[in-house]
């Protein structure tokens, strides 16, 4: 939204949310970047540390091996930069410069990747993700 700074100034008078998400977007983007950087350097443990515990547990259950081994066997983007991140309440959506999207959730200790390597299917249908949360 181009008019966001002006609208935020108006809404501040009413004490409304929607403003001040820039730092949270930066934090979520940093987690997505660390996740893909860990995959790029072959560090499965570091990559799993950025995952939502439910997603990690689901991956181990599906692949029948520890998370740090299973994560490296998936066809997920390795390295690269985060082109754009949007935060809505406690959910975030990170678009990678090389293509693909990650979904993140905000936990008490910070952002966690819940789904990764996601591609659009048909309009208004859910993304298909290599790593499903």
């Amino acid at each position: 939204m181009r008019a966001k700074p002006v609208l935020c100034a108006c809404l501040l008078a009413l004490g409304l949310p929607g403003c001040g998400t820039a730092s949270r977007e930066h934090d979520a983007a940093a987690v997505a970047k660390r996740f893909h950087a860990a995959l790029g350097s072959g560090d499965g443990q570091a990559a799993c540390a950025e995952l939502n515990p439910e997603t990690a547990a689901k991956l181990e259950d599906q692949e029948k091996k520890p998370c740090e081994e299973a994560i490296l066997s998936l066809e997920l983007p390795k390295g690269g930069t985060v082109a754009d991140t949007r935060v809505y309440l406690t959910s975030a959506f990170s678009t990678l410069a090389g293509g693909g999207v990650d979904f993140l959730d905000e936990a008490p200790d910070g952002w966690e990747v819940s789904s990764a390597g996601c591609r659009p299917t048909t309009p208004e249908q859910p993304y298909e993700c290599e790593l499903e949360g």
Partner: protein, 224 residues
Amino acid sequence: MRRFFKHNSLSIVFLVLFLAALCGQAIAGHADFNDRADSHGDPTISLARYVVSSDFGASVMENWQSEYLQFTMFILLTVWLLQRGSPESKELHQTGLESDEDQKVGPHAPPNSPRWAKVEGIRRTIYENSLVLVMTTFWLGTWLAQSLTGVVQYNADQLDHQEDPVSWSQYLRTADFWENTLENWQSEFLAVGSMAILAVYLRQRGSPESKPVGAPHSATGVEG
């Protein structure tokens, strides 16, 4: 001080009720938000975090905008529309903007009239319409706020289902925005319409919202 409270008791009591209800809404809304987060496997948030969230903001704003719309419409439409027998209506011969003499403006304004009621030109025009101008501004402002907080809430749900978020302008075309808007509008219009017609036949002794108890049903524009 006692005199101040007595002479302003209506606004003070409603202010207290508003604040109490807003606090109650925050507590109940926070519990509901965390219930839904739990069932989706999402993290829960604190009350302090919830009251500055778009979820709470959207819930508050969608109600505020409909209240201000109700008053905007009621103030404006009662200039021209009548309801025979209702204390909410003007008398049947008074439809329209009425004469300067009836409205006590310009040369007809008594000495203690508001200053802008006595002057001519744009200032008097603004003052003559100040109530609907302010109510309309509040309505449009809170409706805008509803849309801005609503799109964040909608997009959080979209991401929960691994679907694309939408822009603000796209959100204005969603069923979610219009359902939240219209579910509030219908109740406001129902309330005003009910009050207009029920007050024809029913009474509340002592209330200016009612006709005097003994006033005939056909008496229009009289207060108790």
